[in-house]
């Protein structure tokens, strides 16, 4: 049970949301795997917008379509129908190359584990997207060090992944997801392989980054982690079945604890 006092301050409500351009916008998203007898509807007409400074948690049981939503949002998979707009660009029409460029410049991923390339140091991992983008190694390193420093991870810069703890690795992964001008973090169970205390610290970092202006989607099935979000979206069988603002999520946690919240989320 997380100590409530550790929770971040109530975020300022997005000011005049109608005028602010969402970083990510999913419109009528459907995704069908296979065809005929093996046809599976992973997503059925999902709509979702994420504004700058907003962290949205996506919850739901296994097979509800959480991960599919995330991969489509990042352009790693393409929807069967619907639109994905990232910072004003419809990525469903982008070429493979444009998608790669988008992932280098606009979208950052954080996975459950093995996020870092074992052959590269923390700083090199963070600078990778920029280097791939053609920036010189020195310049890329400068921006990577800045990103690490900003997250109090400067002391890890020259460590290899196998010289870091899981929590440290995840924090470096978040730093990488937001290096340069990237403003969208897609985190798929980033705390899944961590103990709860370490998990909290990773989420605290993610939360802080969002407050600094990034937009984030956090896929998790643990309500106490979802409580770090501004909004929780519940998915079931590929459809959004419920949506709760932050206060709602907090009340869920307050009433029934994580388990109750989880069950509530399943409804």
């Amino acid at each position: 049970m997380p100590d409530q006092s550790h929770l971040p301050q109530q975020p300022q409500q997005p000011q005049q949301p109608s005028r602010i351009q969402p970083v990510l916008q999913l419109e009528q998203l459907t995704r069908v795997h296979g065809s005929g007898a093996t046809e599976v509807h992973a997503l059925r007409g999902v709509n979702l917008s994420v504004l700058p400074g907003e962290l949205v948690a996506v919850m739901g049981p296994s097979g509800s379509g959480k991960s599919t939503l995330l991969t489509i949002a990042g352009g790693l998979d393409s929807p069967t129908s619907g639109r994905v707009v990232v910072e004003g660009t419809d990525i469903t029409r982008a070429s493979r190359k444009q998608l790669a460029t988008l992932r280098r410049r606009s979208i950052g991923y954080v996975f459950q584990d093995y996020n870092l390339i074992p052959a590269l140091t923390a700083a090199e991992n963070v600078s990778l997207p920029r280097e791939l983008d053609g920036l010189s190694a020195r310049k890329a390193r400068v921006s990577a060090l800045a990103a690490l420093e900003e997250m109090d991870l400067g002391h890890l810069a020259d460590r290899f992944p196998d010289e870091m703890s899981g929590g440290q690795q995840q924090r470096v992964a978040i730093a990488r997801a937001l290096v340069g001008d990237r403003r969208l973090v897609l985190a798929d169970e980033p705390t899944g392989a961590l103990d709860s205390e370490t998990g909290e610290s990773v989420l605290a970092l993610l939360r802080a980054r969002c407050e600094a202006g990034a937009a984030g989607i956090l896929v998790t099935h643990e309500p106490r982690f979802a409580a770090w979000a501004d909004r929780v979206v519940f998915l079931r069988d590929g459809s959004v079945v419920d949506e709760t603002m932050r206060s709602g999520a907090e009340s869920l946690l307050a009433v029934g604890g994580p388990d109750a919240a989880g069950q509530a989320g399943l409804k």
């Binding site: 991969t71 990042g74 790693l76 998979d77 493979r96 190359k97 790669a100 460029t101 988008l102 992932r103 280098r104 410049r105 979208i107 950052g108 991923y109 996975f111 584990d113 093995y114 996020n115 870092l116 390339i117 074992p118 052959a119 590269l120 090199e124 990778l128 997207p129 280097e131 791939l132 983008d133 053609g134 920036l135 010189s136 190694a137 890329a140 196998d162 870091m164 703890s165 899981g166 929590g167 690795q169 990488r176 392989a193 961590l194 103990d195 370490t198």
Partner: protein, 961 residues
């Protein structure tokens, strides 16, 4: 564009660290690429170092002198010489007007007076060489005797003193290190020439930088060869040919110029001049080139270059095929990592760059390691290499550009090997890489189509070459193309194997299905095995067939187990010692003495042109001589009188089909001996045996008898050498006396092993011939062991015989080692390639194995599966390779058969050969080699893979907390 450059840097960094992280795999690939580079760079450094500059070469041949004057052997007649005298393989001169014209002149022999060719006011030093056997610790050693004042300033550099000093007075000699080693001698020991009763003390050891393996001794001029020749003459033996050369030092000036050389040439003296070698005259100044083309090295090198390029190319292909799967394993293992790069915005180009960088990193490392080790190895082994080459290096010479080129080859190989894995990895969807989802990788469809076309064209070209053209190159090129086509077709062929899977038990079925479903990774490994095995099988088939032909063509020189030994020196003084040695060392059955006829002095050797000696031969009546070899105008080829058709007809004429081969002792076709010789040779024909017993001669050749057969054969004795030479030069018969003796004609089917006319001693005496002991023939009851042969040869050496006994042991092919080496090579490649493919399969099949374990499969299934996976790859490669290898070799054999026939026909048409026949090359499939490749190697590979596989899977890794 700088961006391109920067993203490659990142890729190289990842690849470099990855290579370091998986050291085992990196080392394997590195050594695969570095080994050939090591070999090639070592050869390059060795060759370049051994290659002497002209100045170095002159120093070694001339010492400090300006020139070396040599008698040209024309008896002082003017010569024209090559200015490049002294270049290996290029020593040449000829008398003005050519050798043929020169030989037809009566005064063609004799010596030129070198002193007349020495320019006035120059210093000279004589350098005389002769040969004689010297008694050493082990017996007698044939040694070069060099009389040269080695301490003279002119001789500086010719001999490099190692220990002691050079001789300073008569009775002292210095010797080469090789001589001392071969003779078991050291400084202070005494040696004695065989025919001189004087001892010489060894006072120094030296080496000849160009001829490290030469057994040579050095003495002061006049102290060795003079007394030796006098002693030889006293014993009635011919002198050791001592050839004197003059080292000339002009002491400054321009040295021995080309004009001075031409001046010396006019006196019949050839000159090796430092000045000319360093500044050769233009071709127009060289009269020699009017008759002989100036040296042109480009001829023939093109072919050798093409062959070398083919071999290197095939070797690189083989390495790429072998190393490729290793990079594929690497890419497969780091799939998640490549997926992460994709998730962070790496597109296909970046993924390709990372995998390619793996090849680049290993290639560069292999280039550095390979060339560095090659140079270091050459440096370390320099003395050994020099000993092997028989000459000292000029200087340890590194050619940076050549070495860089060789190193570049390694980088190129690394990159080539990584290309296919790089493209495959980059096509993998990022999501599939991240989630580890497996799918059946689809094989390329274009490649097999290209392969099929290549096979068709290659086969057609090879077939055309085999049956319709004489060109060996066509068959080779066609086969190579077809083989590359088969390599490209491998994925499809592997697919065909899958149909066999249905009835197999679980593990092999799983292995086969897995191999077939993942053709993308199976095919390169199978192709690597295929290429290696096809090469081996092709060479093995070719070798086995050639060996069969040689076996069929082998002519026994004597019956199996029969031996002979002869000596024609000094009237056969050593024959009794020879007999004792044979009796002491061999298990003998029958031993027969052989004598020979001698004309003139008893110590005359058979073909001596000494005035005291005469020659003889079996007389063949004119009507019985082959017209292709007899008659015609002086100096012309007798066969030129006939048309091609007549030559073909004559080639089958009985007079021209005579062929004597064998090692039964005899000189000039005559063997003197009794019926024991017949017993030894296994001749049992009653007519022959009775005739010899009755003391009558036996002829084994009907041409010996006159047309109106009078029952006698003639032996012609020639005593006047000068008249004989003149007559031969004029195309007439040499004048001589023919003595007839009654003889029996042996039936044609009696094999006489080279004896043409057997004369019993009594018959020879009766006809007025003098005979001396010549040697022995003997039958053994068992073939002597190697030790016995060695001790017999040693005994012969101790007697001072320069000849070794010959014992017929039948045909023994030398191909066994070659075939064995090839089989081992192909086996290693197969096991290596199959092992790599198995590693790849295992990386892929880990989830399957977990599932198998979960449903209750015993642990050994894991071992069994990897064993079968390895065996499957090996078997597919070996079977395909054997098929791909047998066919081209058959094409080559058919082609060679045609070439043999054509060349035989050509020589008959040109009148060269009378009635010789060759055996057709049979086509022999080397079943033993094939068997061990097809059965033993896959089984071995499977067992090995099963053995090194853990029966329990590794625990799945989690993120380190």
């Amino acid at each position: 564009m700088t961006g391109w450059y920067h993203s490659w840097l990142a890729a190289i960094r990842i690849a470099r660290r990855d290579a370091w992280r998986s050291k085992g795999r990196s080392l394997l690939v590195l050594s695969m690429i570095a080994l050939p580079i090591l070999g090639v760079s070592a050869v390059d450094v060795t060759l370049r170092s051994a290659e002497l500059s002209v100045a170095d070469r002159m120093d070694r041949r001339l010492g400090a002198a300006d020139a070396l004057l040599t008698d040209s052997g024309t008896g002082g007649a003017p010569i024209e010489q090559n200015p490049h005298l002294g270049t290996p393989g290029d020593d040449n001169w000829h008398p003005v007007g050519g050798w043929d014209a020169h030989h037809s002149k009566p005064t063609s022999e004799g010596r030129a007076d070198l002193s007349k060719a020495v320019p006035a006011g120059t210093k000279t030093l004589t350098d005389t060489k002769g040969h004689t056997p010297l008694r050493t610790q082990h017996g007698l050693l044939q040694t070069e005797v060099r009389e040269l004042k080695a301490t003279d300033p002119l001789a500086k550099g010719l001999m490099v003193l190692g220990e002691g000093r050079f001789p300073e007075k008569a009775g002292e000699i210095a010797a080469t290190h090789h001589f001392l080693e071969a003779g078991g001698l050291s400084l202070g020991d005494k040696v004695k020439p065989r025919s001189l009763d004087t001892e010489f003390t060894i006072v120094g050891a030296y080496e000849l930088p160009d001829e490290l393996k030469l057994d040579q001794i050095n003495a002061l001029p006049g102290t060795f060869l003079g007394p030796l020749n006098k002693s030889l003459a006293d014993q009635g033996l011919s002198p050791t040919g001592g050839e004197t050369n003059y080292l000339v030092g002009s002491g400054g000036g321009e040295g021995f110029t080309w004009n001075m050389v031409k001046e010396a040439n006019s006196k019949g003296v050839a000159v090796l001049s430092r000045a000319v070698a360093l500044n050769p005259p233009t071709d127009s100044e060289v009269p020699y080139y009017r008759h002989n083309a100036s040296p042109d090295s480009s001829n023939g090198t093109a072919g050798a270059l093409a062959a070398a390029a083919t071999v290197v190319g095939l070797a690189l292909l083989e390495i790429c095929l072998l190393a490729g799967p290793a990079f594929a394993v690497g890419a497969r293992r780091s799939r998640r990592q490549l997926g992460l790069v994709g998730a962070n915005g790496g597109d296909r180009r970046h993924i390709r760059a990372i995998v390619l960088s793996g090849g680049l990193v290993i290639g560069v490392a292999a280039a550095v390691v390979g060339t560095a080790l090659g140079i270091a190895l050459t440096l370390a082994l320099q003395p050994v290499l020099e000993g092997y080459l028989g000459q000292r290096f000029g200087a340890f010479e590194l050619r940076p550009l050549e070495l860089f080129g060789i190193a570049l080859l390694a980088v190129f190989t690394g990159l080539m090997a990584a290309i296919v894995p790089a493209v495959t990895a980059s096509r993998q969807p990022v999501l599939a890489s991240l989630t580890g989802r497996r799918g059946v990788r689809k094989a390329n469809r274009v490649l097999p189509a290209v392969g099929l076309v290549a096979v068709a064209i290659g086969a057609a070209v090879a077939l055309y070459g085999a049956v319709a053209s004489d060109s060996f190159l066509l068959v080779a090129a066609g086969s190579a193309l077809a083989e590359l086509g088969v390599v490209a077709l491998t994925p499809v062929l592997v697919g065909l194997f899958g149909r066999l899977g249905g009835w197999l038990p679980l593990s092999p079925r799983l292995a086969l299905r897995d191999a077939v479903r993942n053709r993308g990774r199976t095919a390169p490994a199978v192709a690597a095995v295929l290429a290696a095995v096809a090469g081996t099988v092709a060479v093995a088939t070719y070798t086995a067939s050639t060996d069969a032909k040689q076996r069929a063509e082998y002519q026994e020189m004597l019956p199996y187990g029969v031996g002979s030994a002869t000596t024609d020196e000094a009237g056969g003084r050593d024959v009794s010692a020879m007999r004792s040695a044979v009796q002491a060392n061999l298990p003998l059955d029958v031993l027969a003495d052989v004598q020979r006829i001698v004309v003139g002095d008893k110590k005359c050797t058979p073909y001596s042109d000494d005035a005291k000696c005469g020659q003889y031969e079996v007389y063949i009546p004119k009507a019985n001589r082959c017209p292709l070899h007899e008659g015609g105008v002086a100096g012309s080829d007798p066969s030129e009188r006939f048309s091609v058709e007549e030559r073909r007809a004559l080639a089958k004429d009985w007079r021209c089909t005579v062929e004597f081969s064998g090692d039964a002792p005899g000189t000039a076709g005559v063997t003197v001996g009794d019926e024991k010789i017949l017993k030894v040779l296994g001749i049992t024909d009653p007519g022959v045996v009775n005739a010899v017993k009755q003391g009558r001669a036996v002829s084994f050749e009907r041409a010996h008898f006159d047309k109106n057969n009078t029952g006698k054969v003639g032996i012609k004795v020639v005593t006047d050498h000068k008249k004989a030479e003149e007559a031969l030069a004029a195309g007439r018969e040499a004048p001589g006396r023919v003595t007839h003796l009654p003889a029996h004609l042996a039936p044609e089917d009696v094999k006489a092993y080279g004896i043409q006319l057997l004369v019993p001693p009594a018959a020879a005496k009766e006809a007025g011939f003098t005979t001396v002991p010549y040697g022995l023939v003997f039958s053994t009851s068992a073939l002597p062991s190697t030790e016995r042969s060695q001790s017999l040869n040693g005994a012969f050496d101790k007697i001072g015989l320069t000849t070794a006994p010959y014992i017929e042991s039948g045909y023994s092919g030398s191909t066994g080692i070659v075939l064995l080496a090839l089989t081992v090579f192909a086996g290693l490649v197969t096991i290596g390639a199959a092992g790599i493919a198995t590693g790849l399969a295992q990386a892929d099949a880990e989830p399957d194995l977990k599932t198998l374990t979960a449903v209750g499969a015993p642990p050994r299934v894991r071992r069994a599966l990897s064993g079968f996976q390895c065996g499957t790859v090996a078997l597919m490669g070996v079977v395909l390779g054997s098929a791909a290898g047998v066919l081209p070799s058959i094409g080559l054999l058919l082609n060679q058969r045609r070439a043999d026939e054509a060349s035989l026909q050509r020589s008959v048409d040109e009148g060269w050969i009378g009635g010789m026949s060759t055996t057709e090359i049979p086509i022999v499939i080397p079943w033993e080699t094939l068997g061990s490749l097809v059965i033993a190697v896959p089984v071995g590979a499977a067992l090995l893979a099963a053995l090194v596989t853990r029966s329990r899977g590794a625990v799945a890794r989690r993120a380190e907390a």
